[in-house]
């Protein structure tokens, strides 16, 4: 029979590099996995955003658009953007082996994220008392669903930031091994970028 394969001496599974092929392509498997996940997230938000835009165009609700508080949400947007900046500072810190630094900066990120969520909660309650509810119009249904699911993503990010801080506290990150911080950062920046798109299309356009 044809024997197509040659074998090489076993190096023992513990010493092999399982991700050799990825490294040859310059790919880190954890980052690739995260990018793939984020690509599916793009489509998820794409579905909700298309629904929102479809109703915004076909069933406009000018009285409710007038209720939206661009100043409040603008400040909130600034806070969320700042939280992305502190993630970058945290990553830079751990790359310099500064464990205290990454914990401090991710702590600030959590704080800013929590302020953003509180701001969103305040906005929702205010709108609710002004008569804009889940069932007041299709525009409102789409608005709350879209921004609410973004808020859910921020909330998940807060938990993730907390876990990352805990791992840093346990000493799992260093200048050589900071993948966990980087992956969390990808997620957090993504959630931020989604918000920039939402803020533009919901509040500014």
């Amino acid at each position: 029979m044809e024997k197509a394969m040659e074998t090489m001496k076993a190096e023992g599974s513990h010493h092999e590099d399982h991700f050799r092929a990825g490294k040859a392509l310059g790919l880190d498997h954890r980052k690739l996995g995260m990018w793939l996940f984020l690509s599916s997230e793009v489509m998820f938000f794409g579905g909700l955003l298309s629904t929102f835009l479809f109703y915004k165009v076909n069933n406009p609700s000018p009285s409710e658009v007038a209720l939206l508080d661009v100043v409040l949400v603008g400040v909130n947007t600034f806070i969320l953007l700042t939280s992305s900046f502190t993630v970058v500072l945290g990553l830079t810190a751990i790359q310099r082996n500064n464990v205290q630094g990454v914990m401090r900066f991710l702590g600030i990120t959590m704080l800013l994220g929590a302020v953003f969520l509180a701001g969103q909660g305040y906005e929702f309650v205010k709108l609710y008392y002004e008569g804009m509810t889940l069932s007041s119009s299709v525009f409102a249904s789409a608005f709350f669903t879209l921004t609410g699911f973004h808020g859910l993503h921020v909330f998940i990010g807060l938990i993730w930031a907390g876990l990352t801080i805990f791992k840093a506290y346990q000493g799992q990150y260093s200048a050589e091994e900071y993948g966990g911080v980087e992956i969390f950062g990808l997620y957090w920046h993504f959630v931020d970028i989604v918000w920039i798109v939402l803020f533009t299309l919901i509040y500014l356009v």
Binding site: G22, L25, L27, G33, G46, V138
Partner: protein, 542 residues
Amino acid sequence: MSTESVELKQENNWKRYFTWNTDHKVIGVQYLVTAFAFFLIGGALAMLIRTELLQPGIDFMDGTIYNRVITNHGSIMIFLWIIPVLAGFANYMLPLMIGARDMAFPNLNALSFWLIPVGGLFVLLSFFIGAAETGWTAYVPLSIQAPDGQTIWAIGVILLGFSSIFGAINFVTTTFTMRTEGMGFLELPLFVWSMLATSLLILVATPVLTAGLILIAMDRVFGTIFFTVQAGGDPILWQNVFWFYSHPAVYIMILPGMGIISEVLPVFSRKPIFGYIAIALSSMAISVLGLTVWAHHMFTSGMSPALRVPFMITSMIIAVPTGIKIFSWLGTIWGGKLRFTPSMLFSLGFISMFLIGGITGVFQASVPFDLYVHDTYFIVGHLHFVLFGGSVFSVFSGFYYWFPKVTGREMNERLGKIQFALMFIGANLTYLPMFASGMLGMPRRVVDYAPELASLNLLTTIGAYILGTSVIVFFHNAATSWLRGPKATSNPWRALTLEWMTTSPPPIHNFEELPVVTSGPYEYGETPGASDTRQTLEVTGD
């Protein structure tokens, strides 16, 4: 070494199949067994449907019960049988085929599996509180008015979607980063290529269904009014979102099957695959084009007439990459030394039945024809030729092909051939008359039909019973072979892909020594590594 003895002990323990295990081979078997269990449930529902339709009139199911049965037959067969069973093969085989020791994210892989029984339980439990009864398409506003089970059903399908997405992330990452030495992208077995195409499709399409199901769940639970027509909600929106996923879902269900038969045909023809690059790239083409055709399901739904023709054209273009595959397969078996094992028979059955499914699909893509047959049994016949004659035949082909590798035992070939004969006859007898009854105007999803359609429906039901019998033969064969079949060698089919370069079943880390690839996966009848042309016309046999 103590770790090794722990591993060995673990390896021989059947209980590991009921635990959170991160070995891709255990997960693959978990996937396969779970999916086959759901296949039995979905099949039993099909038998109920065909028994009700045995003769005109309402026999033992009223309309509501009938709607619940067809809805869950469809949902189970799609979300809990075909998609997971193909993912099961991929989980087991993909790391072996690329010479990896496991998947890139073993824990995520276990999560992908465990979401399936949980999601499946949701779908099944919905039966106890008024099951989903809208058809698997869950068209609004029907799915907003249906009983509470529809909500549970939606949550179940969302969970199954997460399972698909996590699986897809794993397959792509594993293929990109864990190939063994010497395995470039043009040495990948075609099944791996097909899983790449499938996974990219899952990543793009499935989240959109999740978003859509969330809209339905929000309407049902939290009082949003996305689909309340009086308030300006638009039912067509749901159809767009649903088919944006669910048409690609057809390719999610057929591309891995095409991959399986691209493995099987060269092995049992003892010839190199014809058109390796054409088959690999046509998978990617189907994957990309498949995202642009969804509205051909909505020609009668009141969509903009101006959009019909573009969607008709893109739908018909899909026939091109599909045709490339079919001719490549024919080129592969042409002049080969064919061995008619059950696996090969199912692959040949796939080509012939999928051809009918595919061609009737081109008919339906044509707007005037579709307006005529929309929502009739013609559609039911077409989709079953694709999903049963295509996907399910490929599953059985793969099952007979890889069974010795997974279990270390050989299956009974005679029973396999009996199963194939029964299944091939049964499937054609079931689904061919549906084209006729559909053309005569029999609507789908209705519990009763006009008396003049009685003989066609009788034929279909007889065919369905033959199909049911063939499934019993299969389960008997699989169970007895797994328990008592003769021991299989590591490479019973003398195949060249890497999963056969290790023991049957493989050790816990897959390979004692990692293989190094020096030639293509399909160089049958050639001196290995001698040719860089994969499309040789010379036929030298084995």
